[in-house]
Amino acid sequence: MSRTWLRLGNLAVALILILAACTAGGSSGAPAGSAAAAKGAIKIWYSNNAEEVAWGKAVIAAWNKDHADEQVTGEEIPAGKSSEEVIGASITAGNTPCLIFNTAPAAVPQFQKAGGLVALDDFADGASYIKDRTGDRADQYKFTDGKFYQMPWKTNPVMIFYNKKVFTKAGLATDNPPLKTYDEFLATAKTLVAKGGVQAAIWPSPTAEFYQPWFDFYPLFIAQSGGKQLVEGGEPQFTSPEGLAVANFWKSMYDAKLAPNEAYQGDSFADQKAAMAIVGPWAIAVYGGKVDWGAVPVPTKDGMDAKDVHTFSDEKSIGMYTSCKNRGTAWEFLKFATNKENDGQLLTLTGQMPMRADVVTDFPDYFQKNPEYQQFADAASRTVEVPIVPNSVEVWQTFRTAYSESVIFGKTPIDTAFKDAADKIKTLVSGS
């Protein structure tokens, strides 16, 4: 018996060693210099919502018509818990496509660390093309080594959507609702829950995922601080008086049960369980038929003019991945997909704002025909990104944990929780 087991064990170990030897020596990526000029067929992934699929197919068809030797094939990003998880696995497996038109800026540092992303500065006109198209905001997309590992593509500047029917029912103005200052917002929220027939005034997801602050704390922090990122120059910014004011505002909302600390299953705004939501213009097409909506900038402590309010970008970038052999074609296609004509096509089909320096001037006809998108286009010029720093996801998770325990569940004082989180985050962004 024992000898049989010994034999089986030997066989198993031998097989494992063979497998390990087979997998240890992976193929190496193409050398940067030659690959940057190489041309030929490439593959790309785009997002899986119907509008972006339609856009992707149209752009590929237009390119392929004139580039018989550099054909582009497009596919939807494979399904997974999140696109970032799928892309991360694909980098490790070495089978990423050349371009992914849905790369989240917060994931870029991790993909870069994994050796998965091509610095677009490798191309002679790489940095200049990005800066010419995007303007000053392009700098927010540089990694700490000063390079662009992503091309800023489209933004969904977030604002407060409100349900006009609920506001009317609560006896509140619908044209210029009192939502500018924290005091106004709180008073309005109380009235909405008392008289508007809704369960919540606003219902941001109170769950623990690292990205949730982008739709509660972060837009208000950006607005209150006049456009600061969570971390700037290696220093966390959220322990400032502005950061604490925003946290205290949200704590008042949770304490008064105007924002529930329990997750809603579904879309609380579309289901008319909440009177307001923090969303970008992608939602217009979704809410259009269901809710009679209006939108205003996020509130600030003492109120600001709409033209001065900065907000979170909710941006998606285009990444070029190191498994790409024909990077010359990939770069040319990337520029083609983000030229004025195709950006206009993206705006028309999806309602999302191309990351152009002045989207209103570039597409005047569209905004004339679709005035409801105008204020989002105005806000698009004042968007702020997540900081592109090492350990980005862990930075956000650390912040979310501190925010959950102090603001959402009120277990610890805000200043203590934020200070502890800031100390940890400072170490994380230093790359250690």
Partner: protein, 302 residues
């Protein structure tokens, strides 16, 4: 010559066995185990000693050997300690509940009930239904304005069940017990059908009542099945992921339902600390093996 040849044959036989063809029969499964279980297991152990992260093939990255540092860090990490306590709470509730409920239900379903097949199928359905699908139902049941609180009225806990630090883990334990019950009922049903009827008849003649018969015969006779149920339920409990991920929104409220496997996912997949996550996996595997060994020792001793 002949002696030498016989000696060689003897050595060969000792080396490869009397019927080497047997290797060909077991090879597919050994390959399967080695490729999909052995190799990942060894690789996970290996990367737990490095500051490891997943990288593109051929990428030049620095993943230094750190010895036991990952293990030191996780043992001192309050989030991991909390996750271990949470899963211990889960196992303490879930395992005894599973054993008692599945044995009682199996005994009932083993009796000559009307619609017996219907009931047997009904208990099995949750087990074969995807967690993602059934969790939606439980969310509606337990949330603040859900069915349960509607029934309880002023007696409902505040905050509501799933955002209540005291109740979050017991609720998850209940939901998982319900979900897995069908499988364990099936195990017990198989064991029950092996108990000779004569034992019950003899006990009845001796004047044993229904409770006495259940405790003295049923419980005693299904003890090997109980060992299996306890060990499997412990392993399933230690691997808890989907319920805290979906039911309590990522291990909430405030980390009260964080599980070690959810932490592994967060660290290894979301945050790119594969070495750290692998060390959590190794500690968890050792812990589960130790608990299973104790269970087996306690339950199987004569």
């Amino acid at each position: 010559m002949a002696v030498a040849a016989a000696g060689r044959r003897g050595r060969m036989r000792r080396l490869i066995g009397r019927d080497p063809i047997g290797y060909a029969f077991i090879a597919p499964y050994v390959l399967f185990l080695a490729g999909l279980f052995g190799y990942p297991l060894l690789l996970a152990l290996y990367i737990s000693f490095f500051d490891y992260f997943f990288a593109a093939p051929g990428a030049v990255v620095d993943r230094p050997f750190v010895g036991l540092r990952n293990y030191q860090q996780i043992l001192g990490d309050p989030v991991f300690q909390k996750a271990l306590l949470n899963v211990a709470e889960f196992i303490i509730i879930n395992v005894p509940l599973t054993v008692v409920l599945s044995l009682v239900l199996a005994s009932a379903l083993n009796a000559k009930l009307p619609f017996r097949t219907f009931f047997r199928t009904s208990y099995y359905i949750p087990y074969v239904t995807a967690s993602v699908a059934v969790i939606g139902v439980w969310l509606w049941f337990f949330n603040g304005s859900g069915l349960l609180n509607g029934v309880l009225g002023p007696l409902a806990p505040k905050p509501a069940w799933l955002v209540n630090e005291f109740w979050a883990m017991p609720i998850i334990a209940l939901v998982v017990t319900w979900k897995q019950l069908g499988f364990y009922v099936l195990l017990y049903l198989a064991a029950l059908q092996n108990i000779p009827r004569e034992l019950y008849e003899a006990a009845e003649v001796d004047g044993a009542g229904i409770v006495r018969r259940f405790l003295a015969i049923t419980v005693a006779e299904v003890r090997p099945a109980t060992t299996l149920v306890v060990i499997l339920a412990t392993i399933v409990g230690a691997n808890l992921f989907t319920e805290p991920y979906l039911l309590t929104g990522g291990g909430g409220p405030n980390g009260a339902s964080m599980s070690p496997v959810l932490l592994m996912y967060r660290e290894g997949i979301e945050q790119g600390h594969a070495g750290y996550a692998a060390a959590i996996g190794a500690v968890l595997a050792i812990g589960v093996m130790a608990i299973s060994a104790v269970n087996r020792f306690v339950l199987e001793r004569e």
